[in-house]
Amino acid sequence: MAKVLEGPGMGLLKKWGLQTPNYAVVGSSEELEQLAQANDWLNKSSLVVKAHEALGSRFKLGLVKVGLDLKGAKAAAKEMLGRTVGTLTIREVIVSEAVDHSEEYYVAVKSTRDGADVMVANCGGVEVESNWDRVKRCSVVVGDAPSDAALEGLAKEAGFSGDLIPKVADFARKLFLCFDNEDGQYLEINPVVQNAAGELVALDAVTLLDGDAKFRHPDWTFPFAAEFGRAYTENEEEVMAVDSKVKGSVKLIEIPGGDTAMLPAGGGASVYYSDAVVARGGKLANYAEYSGDPPDWAVEVLTDKVCSLPGIKNIIVGGAIANFTDVKKTFGGIINAFRKAKAAGKLDGVRIWVRRGGPNEKQGLAAMNALKDEGFEIEVFDRRTPLTDIVDMALAKK
């Protein structure tokens, strides 16, 4: 899933005929000033300013300001831009027009195994979260589209009446079109409000798209935001850059404060290794994974980052019996990085635990074992040792 920030998210909704408030994404208060000279609404309307970054709890952090005039909006933009939250610097704010309204509604489309669910509630904002039973849904099989009658029935079921029934049905129909054509995975408009002219407006949206479908959407020129509620770290971004270039995959997520570093192979096995660490009361310093027979240099970059994690005591070089990842070759990359890290003093007091099988496993494991002669604290096990036993040993040997 790829999260899209509010600005480009609103852009997609507009593309599919949904009404959104006027908005502008700016990188400086001067830019806002210039825009105000061309756009009347910036001078006339009550404005909302929000940090345009992948951040949770923006309200709490003071990164959402409401009820502003242009002057106030410029001041708010100036104050927010350049602020740092953790590793993230705020580079953009989104300024939007407040829409006077009394009622708030909820419309969403969510991917399901068989297709999608269209979800509607006649309450919105925080109210819908505490009244989840008021969300009514209508399932659509993949390849189909919901009929007008079905959507009107859904609106009725959700408690809408009068002319709101066709309006909500039409809104849901367009949101579904957007979802279906833009390879959506989750589109949530909360709240949907009615403006003075009686039209439904998408006030705030969560937009999750299928990043794998980017190849058929040339207009997806926007970057995807981190899904974590935090920005990616420099090391994570470096590994992602390598990942995008190579056959197979290398992945890294850093977890501050942990002492057990993970360097396992395989998307499936890596999670079992993490589970084992948690089950034994260990603290994960990261999540990592390499698979699909990546080149040795890519694994070397990943290993280099893992060795550089602060305060680590153990490194778990785990892995199942590979189908086609060459153990000797990928271990070659790991060994190179280990040697460099050791020379740089990064592995002082760090114990390394290895378990692996697969093509050329004998040579790969022998090469790891030979690191003992170079003064590494390393224990090497083959396929006869059950997958996660090295975690038990690492965490038992206090």
Partner: protein
């Protein structure tokens, strides 16, 4: 018995290099179970009409490549399964093409990063047609003793270690490719091995879920238990639990689910496969899945590590109840083996191959060439020069400084002789006709023969003959006249006593200034005295001089023409490059340079 991939499976592989690699892995499996290859064809439009080579046992098979699935099935009606190895942007169309083909019942896709919508559409389409769409991102399907689809199972040694040459009693379904192999191994070590192992792919919405395969296993009497390796996210495990709990099932179900670490991770952090994402309302957690499976009566070990002992216990119960009869293990000698390559056999020291050629001068097998055993870089660094390399490669010896200097001078003196001589002229004509360097230079070299530059070897041969037989000059000349003809190395087209060849003078002068015994050169100069006295231009020419000197240095007679060939190649390359540089146009001889001596125009008589 097995499911999905069986003895009757015949495969078309859609894709390029990755597909060919998969076919090779499948070939290894077929060799192990001593069956012919079950890959009938490839579909890969860029290579349509070509063939791919796949090793099966000790045979190299050529498998045709087609443009479309329809062409493949028309030519190979036995095909009933397609393996899709196509990039994510074209995979949907490829899989759809296969599903829509009436002969194909199973489509398994290894492609990763297929858009979710495409996967759902393919899954729904397959279900509508009553077919199976497995994957995407599936490592493949392995049915022990019967069929391998894709690379699942890994290297040959692993196939044997996991006893995949014969069926066991356990079915396996996993999302993870790496773990499928791990479970196959565990089943073979803690129990009697697998019937079929299926990688369904790690995506959120795989084309086929656990339940479909559980139903198939339930109907396969050979399968006594099924192991599911689950992951957090989605609801596939819950649905499997629901299926298992719905009524009494013949198969036993064992399962582990990953993702417990999620509970202690910072909020919002998720890892693993694309499918391992938390449901938006918190459903699909590892704990919820484990609980559901346990409640349904499945055996759910606490950790992955405990899965092996759980499988063992289940197996032992089967044995005790008589449901399963233990299969005796094959001894080391009975186990299937891959035919070894000649290289491997030689490495192991138990194969002797009669070599085709023998080389005594150089060896390229290390990190740099060895000339007569000396590393090239060391020769450079110790100050050796090109004449020394000539000595090593032509006469298998390190020549002295003095000898090297003579060789150097010979090469300088004979590197070129202008554009008019046969060799250079031919190269120039070639260059002007647009011929490439190596061909045009080779054309010039072809001119080197008895009348141009190629008399060095023969001159050396006869001067040696004279010296070896202690002949006088007169004896030599009458021997030559009687048996050979003109003396090679004597005579010049334009040079003469009055117009001496400066190159000869220079070389003779230098060699004679050295403290060096030169019997051949001395003899040649004596010969010249007699011949030049008879006719002005019967002088010792440059070929003859070189020959005499080089024989004096001890170079083998057969190598002597090489000095001229080597030296003149420098000039010929120069002439070719010179013409190229000038952009010379095609040339032809002018009419007036030809004496047209053929009969004048006349009438052709009627054909008889």
């Amino acid at each position: 018995m097995s499911i999905l991939a069986t003895k009757e499976t015949h495969v078309v592989i859609q894709g390029g290099v990755a597909g060919v690699n998969a076919a090779r892995r499948m070939g290894e499996f077929r060799h192990m179970i001593q069956q012919p290859l079950n890959v009938s064809a490839f579909v890969y439009p860029p290579d349509a009409g070509k063939t791919n080579e796949v090793v099966c046992g000790n045979r190299l098979l050529t498998i045709p490549v087609y443009k479309t699935v329809a062409e493949a099935t028309a030519n190979h009606p036995e095909i009933n399964t397609s393996l899709v190895y196509i990039g994510a942007d074209r995979a949907y169309a490829g899989a759809k093409e296969a599903l829509d083909n009436s002969g194909i019942q199973v489509v398994s896709m290894i492609t990763e990063g297929l858009p979710e919508k495409d996967s759902k559409l393919l899954g729904a389409h397959a279900r509508k047609l009553g077919k199976v769409f497995n994957g995407p991102s599936s490592i493949g399907v392995m049915s022990a003793g019967e069929c391998r689809l894709g690379v699942i199972g890994g290297a040959f040694d692993n196939l044997v270690a996991c006893k995949l040459y014969r069926p066991g009693s356990f079915g396996v379904i996993t999302k993870s490719g790496g773990l499928s192999n791990e479970i196959i191994w565990i089943c073979s070590q803690f129990a009697d091995g697998i019937t079929t192992a299926i990688g369904i792919g790690g995506d959120a919405y795989p084309g086929t879920d656990y339940v479909t395969y559980l139903e198939m296993f339930e109907n396969d009497p050979q399968t006594k238990a099924v192991v599911i390796v689950g992951e957090m996210g989605g609801d596939l495990e819950e649905r499997a639990a629901e299926w298992y709990g719905a009524k009494k099932r013949r198969v036993k179900l064992l399962s582990v689910v990953s993702g417990f670490c999620q509970e202690s991770l910072p909020k919002g952090m998720k890892f693993g496969h694309a499918g391992a994402k938390e449901g938006l309302q918190g459903e699909g957690s590892a704990r919820a899945k484990s609980e559901a499976l346990k409640k349904a009566g499945a055996i759910v070990p606490e950790t992955f590590g405990a899965l092996g002992p759980a499988i063992k216990q289940t197996y032992e119960e089967f044995v005790k109840s008589g449901e399963v009869k233990p299969i005796p293990d094959l001894s080391e000698a009975e186990q299937p083996k891959l035919p070894r390559t000649v290289e491997q056999g030689m490495k192991d020291g138990d194969i002797l191959v009669a070599p085709l050629i023998k080389s005594t001068i150089s060896d390229d097998r290390g990190d740099e060439p060895l000339y007569e055993g000396y590393p090239a870089s060391e020769l450079i660094n110790k100050g050796y020069d090109i004449p020394h390399i000539i000595g090593l490669l032509w006469d298998k010896r390190l020549v002295s400084k003095q000898e090297a200097e003579i060789i150097r001078r010979i090469i300088i003196l004979s590197a070129d002789h202008g554009p008019c001589v046969s060799g250079a002229l031919t190269t120039i004509i070639g260059a002007c006709a647009g011929i490439g360097l190596s061909q045009a230079v080779a054309a010039g070299l072809i001119m080197i023969g008895p009348r141009f530059g190629g008399a060095v070897t023969d001159a050396g041969r006869y001067f040696s003959y004279a010296i070896d037989n202690n002949m006088s000059v007169d004896e030599f000349l009458s021997h030559m006249k009687k048996n050979v003809g003109p003396v090679p190395g004597i005579g010049h087209r334009v040079k003469s006593l009055r117009n001496p060849d400066k190159r000869v003078k220079e070389l003779v002068g230098y060699v004679k200034s050295l403290d060096l015994a030169t019997p051949h050169l001395d003899f040649a100069l004596e010969v010249e005295k007699i011949t030049a006295a008879k006719k002005d231009n019967l002088i010792l020419n440059v070929d003859g001089t070189m020959a005499a000197v080089l024989v004096d240095l001890g170079f083998p007679v057969d190598s002597l023409n090489g000095f001229f060939v080597l030296a003149r190649t420098i000039g010929l390359i120069g002439h070719w490059a010179d013409q190229k540089r000038q952009g010379s146009r095609l040339i032809r001889l002018f009419n007036y340079l030809v004496n047209y001596a053929a009969p004048a125009r006349r009438e052709v008589p009627p054909l008889k």
